[in-house]
């Protein structure tokens, strides 16, 4: 029995320490907000002249890059994370740190090389529903919902594309490194931006997908001190 316990303890080690920070790792914690409160599906919100309900918000973050104080690249980690407001655990995770690192940046979406390299598993497994079936390519961001009053209209943003002028992969701003980096996304501003463009549906790579993807990436900001 003692022998079994000793052996099995090795399998538990990787699970210990998740959500804890140390000098060797940085925690990123994402806050997807509507106004001052967390964005949630099925909750009626007011935006401009309309009430709306969010149905889903999922997006990929990938390719974490660490920079020194002069913004010189030190390290890149090519892993991908799938963030989903319906899965709060997905909104916070650890990445490896480096002693010289002062800033971090990450990709919003999946880079073009991954898009042409075949099947992947884990967060990139196509069973996650973030890969187009009718043509190759990851869906970097899925936001769906409905305007419910006074306008009644569905909105669906499936933003992706990796080729040429339709490439939708953007990188975040530089974020100062701390033990926990709080990253905020003002989702209401994104939906407002789309409405300003009169874009309610994007289901394939396009100029609208690029505009909205860029806007989304720019809305991801670290906490201000």
């Amino acid at each position: 029995m003692k022998t079994l316990s000793f052996i099995f303890s090795f399998f538990l080690i990787p699970t210990i320490g998740f959500n804890q920070t140390s000098g060797d790792s940085i925690q990123l914690r994402f806050h997807v907000l509507f106004g001052d409160s967390a964005a949630k599906s099925g909750v009626t919100r007011h935006l401009g002249h309309n009430n709306y309900q969010l149905k889903s918000c999922r997006f990929y973050i990938s390719n974490f890059q660490l920079f020194d104080e002069n913004h010189q690249l030190i390290e890149t980690y090519s892993e991908a994370k799938l963030l989903d407001i319906e899965n709060p655990e997905s909104l916070q995770f650890l990445i490896a740190n480096s002693p010289r690192a002062k800033y971090v940046k990450f990709g919003v979406g999946i880079d073009s090389l991954t898009n042409v390299s075949g099947a992947y598993g884990g967060t990139l497994d196509p069973t996650n529903g973030m890969y187009w079936s009718w043509q190759s390519g990851y869906i970097n961001l899925k936001i769906e919902g409905n305007y419910i009053a006074p306008r009644v209209k569905k909105f669906e943003y499936h933003l992706g594309g990796y080729l040429g002028e339709n490439a939708c992969y953007f990188t975040s701003a530089f974020m100062p490194i701390s033990a926990t980096i709080e990253v905020y996304l003002a989702l209401d501003q994104f939906i407002q931006k789309a409405e300003t463009l009169s874009v309610y549906k994007v289901m394939s790579p396009s100029a609208d997908a690029v505009k909205l993807s860029r806007a989304f990436a720019q809305l991801l900001q670290p906490a201000t001190k």
Partner: protein
Amino acid sequence: MMKRPAIIFTILLLCIAATNVWQDKPLALIYPDSWPKPIYDTARNQITEAGVWLGRNLFYDPKLSADNTISCASCHLSFTAFTHVDHALSHGINDSIGTRNSPVLINLAWNKTFMWDGAANHLDMQALAPISHPAEMGSDIAMVVDNLKENPNYKTWCFEAFGDSTLTGERVLKALAQFQLTLISANSKYDRVMRGETAFTEQENHGYRLFKSLCNSCHSEPLFTHGGFENNGLPVDSALNDSGRAKITGKAVDNRKFKVPTLRNIEFSKPYMHDGRFINLTQVLNHYTSEIEPTNTLSPLLQNRVDLSENDKVDLIAFLLTLTDKEFLFNPKFGFPRQH
């Protein structure tokens, strides 16, 4: 209470399983030395006997479709060059008719893109399209995994192939790709002539000279396709209004361009063209000699008139029949998986 030897044995088994010591036998792709290297990079999906077996079973399993009636093999039959003969447009669940003829599955390791419009940029990901299309299999990859993951055979085969019995989307797709990568056709009469093992007849030889003069630019040897997209002057079928490659790129310059298919095993892969409009090779050649519709995206390789007499057409067809590879068409390793 387990005795000590049993405990140690159990621990050893767990350690072995954790380290994936059970690696299946790798399978090399066998192809002529004169061919270019395959484009498919096996670094991320090593072809193994177990992987091919899993993929072959998936390929023939109608449980990949929403109503358990349509498998990949329903539209890609091994005896007919892995395409759907006698159907201009392939059909799927609920007798739904699609918008294109299923392409042959031959020498896919050398393809850069897949499907008539190149919608799939990697062989691994191609299967997602027919699995999800409402007029083909009407399912989706998550449902496929859900349907199959508790099947004891698939759990065993998945373990043998990937060292883990958990079926995932990635593993389904990679296994299907592994099986399809083995579909290599390189032993037709043409190939035997090229190897110096036999000779064309006079008629076939004449047909080969005509081929090299008029067809080789798009249907380049030895794969009999250059792998790119061309508008070969087919008038648009107004019922289908298929813009081809332009549907994927959104570019007007790609309008009515379709992937140039291989001509290997063409004897068995009728009907022809992306919409199966031609039922025999004579109709195909008649199109090239007298029915090409000039448009601004017409292939530059077809700007000049194609001159073939009726005798020339017969000889050219005689040559095309030398591309039949019965070893490929009737290879028991490609057919329904009866035995492991």
